[in-house]
Symmetry: C2
Subunit: 155 residues, 2 copies
């Protein structure tokens, strides 16, 4: 499972770099499908990942508002901060077969630790697929989604 | 890793059902981003998955042409046929830590078995993210991409 986190984090950083060529208007423009704009999508991915990981860790949810992070620099910085906080957890807890149940503050259900890790991984890849369509809409090549042929920076 | 295949196959079948409400024109319409139309995307996902799995198995690639499978029924049938052929392999070979190298007929590089399995999984989720944007373009709700809260049919 850890390879998927390495993949997602690397692809995410490539999207942050890719975004530098966009105007603020293009970053924030509400688009068809997904959760809205390109920048909000990146914010949403980061927020969701952190909330689920903190839930597994038994820590309180940290609620962040997009209004406080509505520039590329701020979203990238949020990504770095949250990642720094969860990297140790990912390094030692990415065993996909751990089915321990986890309670979350945002609903009444419980979820298996394994299910949550799968959910986080699929969630980011899915939203990045949406970014790739919007990239073409602004007439730019998207970041490569290939898992294979990628030099991985180990986490 | 097997949970991701269960997830992808289940989501794919839900997209096949979802597609029944589309006209042939909407299924085949060339769209912005990704590999083209909604139906071709599903065909492409199936083709890529099968080619990589057969490469791991050391079997010849089976080359399929979209022109021979350009209806929803034919693509769904292709998906069922290929899945039927690889389900036993997935059930017993989805260990993500197997780094045995695999040669493929379509290029000179070798790839680790583990890398290929990760690639197949991420490839389908990424393209399904694109379908979800195109769904909104035809003013329909996309299939849910949630991993969590899903009743899994075991494979």
């Amino acid at each position: 499972m850890i390879k998927f986190f390495e993949y997602n984090w690397q692809v995410r950083d490539e999207w942050f770099n890719w975004c530098k060529q966009l105007s603020t208007e293009d970053l924030l423009k509400d688009r068809i499908g997904g959760v809205g704009s390109i920048l909000y999508t990146l914010f949403h991915i980061i927020d969701v990942e952190y909330s689920w990981i903190r839930a597994i860790e038994g820590k309180d949810d940290v609620v962040v508002q997009f209004n406080d992070y509505n520039t590329l620099e701020k979203v990238k910085s949020l990504s770095d901060t949250f990642r720094n906080d969860i990297v140790k957890f990912i390094q030692t807890n990415s065993d996909e077969s751990n089915d321990q149940l986890v309670s979350v503050p945002w609903d009444e259900d419980t979820y298996s630790r394994s299910g949550i890790l799968h959910h986080i991984v699929a969630h980011e890849i899915h939203h990045v697929g949406q970014l790739s369509v919007w990239a073409r809409e602004v007439e730019l090549s998207p970041v490569s989604a290939n898992f294979i042929g990628r030099d991985f920076k180990l986490i």
